[in-house]
């Protein structure tokens, strides 16, 4: 990670004395220009003009659509029936509470999130610890391990679709060679979710690994040496010195992986289509089906609003509990 140290916010004209003497032209141009109120006014106007278009566009493309989403969630909007944009209050939300397929999708998402995040943490942290040594190959490791997470998600999904298809897959062949069972991953309800989990873990464990490796390499050496001098075993030094120092990095990595674990859409779309049955139908995917296969956009909006609120609250709580604050003035 690249951290930029805190810099004093100069009010534009902070270090005039130092600068004024440096240029011959400066003597001809009175420094006083910068102290005039007109300069401050110009400054404010120019910066407002710099910021204005972006703010306007951000409001237009992010805030307004979300407001619109909330509005449609209060209507029975159906794509095949344009007249259906009328207010029915909380009807969609009431229906959600006893929609078995919705609750099933929440449960599938919970399993997917739990397993992907835990496995990514275990694998990522494990490899980061293994590689935390000064060695020449480290740069090569860093360069190659980013490949899974920068690949287009579609390509990741295709790769694993091939690997999980019997007969054409080297994985299937290898399992057979080892005398292990060769499940028909993507059509067997017991294995389909695991196929998605494995693909997601492969794609994103490098994120955890890179973050923790960076944190490990920036770790101060003194506390660790002091602990060893005091007779701490390797395990104790790790448990009581390294781990607490790494906590912020672990928390940030976990929260980000947790948030993004709701974004396995391309994998599910390509590998299983939510199936077999509803075995891999996460909430996100269920909302997509409701909205665009069954055309019930109003109901789909309600599902997404609930999902948005829950993810947002969960991540804010997680960050708060960890004692790490989002930069808010």
């Amino acid at each position: 990670m690249h951290s930029v140290g805190p810099q004093p916010k100069l009010a534009g004209v902070g270090s005039l004395d130092r600068v004024a003497g440096t240029s011959a032209r400066a003597r001809r141009w009175p420094v006083a220009r910068l102290a005039r109120p007109s300069w401050n006014r110009t400054r404010r106007r120019v910066f407002a003009a710099f910021l204005g278009p972006s703010l306007a566009v951000l409001i237009l493309v992010t805030i307004l659509p979300l407001v619109f989403l909330v509005i449609t969630s209060f209507t029975p909007l159906d794509l095949t029936n344009p007249g259906s944009l009328r207010w029915t209050g909380l009807a969609n939300y009431r229906e959600l509470t006893h929609d078995g397929r919705f609750w099933n999708s929440v449960w599938i998402q919970a399993q997917l999130s739990f397993w992907t995040v835990s496995l990514q943490l275990v694998v990522g942290f494990g490899i980061a610890l293994l590689l935390n040594a000064r060695m020449k190959l480290l740069e090569l490791v860093r360069a190659t391990f980013i490949v899974p997470m920068v690949l287009p998600p579609v390509v990741v999904a295709l790769i694993w679709k091939v690997l999980f298809t019997p007969d054409i897959s080297i994985l299937d062949w290898a399992l057979g060679l080892l005398g292990l069972p060769q499940p028909v991953w993507l059509v067997d309800p017991r294995f389909a979710l695991w196929a998605i989990i494995i693909a997601d873990v492969w794609e994103w464990f490098p994120f955890v690994m890179l973050m923790l490796l960076a944190a490990l390499q920036m770790l101060p050496q003194e506390p660790l040496e002091a602990a060893r001098l005091d007779g701490a075993s390797r395990w104790q030094a790790f448990r009581y010195v390294t781990l607490p120092l790494l906590k912020p990095a672990i928390v940030v990595a976990t929260v980000f992986r947790l948030i993004d674990s709701t974004k396995a859409f391309p994998h599910i779309f390509i590998m299983t289509g939510g199936g077999p049955g509803t075995a891999t139908e996460v909430t996100n995917f269920y909302a997509y089906l409701e909205g665009f296969s069954y055309t019930y956009v109003g109901y789909a909006s309600a599902i997404i609003v609930v999902m948005l609120v829950v993810t947002l609250l969960m991540s804010l709580v997680a960050l708060r509990v960890a004692g790490w604050e989002v930069e808010v003035e």
């Binding site: 990670m1 690249h2 916010k9 100069l10 534009g12 902070g14 005039l16 130092r18 141009w29 220009r33 910068l34 710099f50 910021l51 278009p53 972006s54 566009v57 951000l58 493309v61 992010t62 979300l66 989403l69 449609t72 909007l77 060695m135 190659t144 391990f145 980013i146 899974p148 997470m149 920068v150 690949l151 287009p152 998600p153 579609v154 390509v155 295709l158 790769i159 694993w160 091939v162 054409i168 080297i170 062949w173 060679l177 492969w202 890179l210 973050m211 960076a214 980000f256 948030i259 859409f265 391309p266 779309f269 956009v297 789909a300 909006s301 999902m307 948005l308 930069e327 808010v328 003035e329």
Partner: protein
């Protein structure tokens, strides 16, 4: 540490790299084989390399999809930079009330699943006739690109010494002049990094293209899926198409790898 042990560590590390990359390499080698040869088990390490799959793919509609991907990702990047860079500069050089809100909002939009924007944009685009247009994609890509540009560029501008711009002010330069002749050229590496990032995010998009395009403006990631369904699982061709869309990504991300984690956590990590 003995030199023998160093050799073992190096070998183990190389093996680890190979294991991690093997799924991707499997697809790449598949793209150079045709027909039955592609699925011979056990796989043969030595095989007849053929470019037939690539030739087939490049004769079909996939070329148009690749063009669409290139054009939309480039346009989306330029637009986000033109809007976002001056804003980032303003945020870096002044204190605005609510500047913290911008970073909180960046974080929130990043958390939202794509479908949260997909539904309202779909409805609005239907109304405006923007479904299946490149312009439609370029606009919706601003939902994630713009705040990313602002976030990343602000950090780069924060790292520039202000004294140079102040000297320019004293020399009579205006703010726009100091920005365009001093701050902008000095942050060229940051600009390049940010541009690559936004390009990659737009290039990799699957969901918005799936939802908002039909045939004219389809981008490569969605075209592969269509292609897969219509060509009745001709895996060699699918592998060739997949290799073509992952190649630029791997090359570009190698350039920005130092900033990758920072870009992926935009809105959260300070600086």
């Amino acid at each position: 540490m003995s030199s023998q042990r160093q050799v073992w560590t190096a070998l183990a590390t190389l093996l680890l790299i190979l294991v991690v990359l093997s799924p991707a390499l499997f697809i790449v080698q598949m793209s150079f084989r045709t027909g039955r040869d592609a699925f011979q088990m056990p796989p043969t390490l030595v095989f007849r390399v053929t470019l037939q799959n690539y030739a087939d793919v490049l004769q079909g509609k996939f070329v148009r999809a690749l063009t669409n991907s290139t054009v939309t990702a480039t346009a989306a990047t330029v637009l986000a930079l033109v809007l976002g860079v001056p804003a980032a500069y303003a945020l870096s050089r002044t204190r605005f009330r609510g500047a913290g809100l911008v970073s909180l909002w960046t974080l929130s939009t990043r958390m939202a699943p794509a479908i949260a924007f997909g539904i309202p944009f779909f409805l609005i685009y239907k109304h405006l006739g923007l479904i299946d247009t490149r312009l439609g994609l370029v606009i919706i890509y601003l939902t994630f690109n713009l705040s990313l540009v602002i976030w990343m560029m602000r950090a780069f501008f924060d790292a520039l010494p202000r004294s140079l711009e102040e000297a320019a002010y004293i020399d009579g330069a205006g703010i726009v002049k100091a920005f365009s002749t001093i701050a902008l050229p000095l942050s060229a590496p940051g600009l390049a990094t940010t541009a690559i990032f936004t390009f990659l995010l737009s290039w990799n998009d699957f969901f918005y293209s799936l939802l908002l395009t039909r045939s004219e403006a389809v981008t490569a990631p969605v075209a592969i899926v269509n292609f897969m369904n219509y060509e009745s699982w001709e895996w060699g061709k699918v592998a060739a198409a997949a290799t073509m869309i992952m190649l630029p990504v791997v090359a570009l991300s190698a350039i920005v790898r130092k900033y990758l984690v920072r870009g992926l956590t935009a809105g959260a990590l300070k600086g």
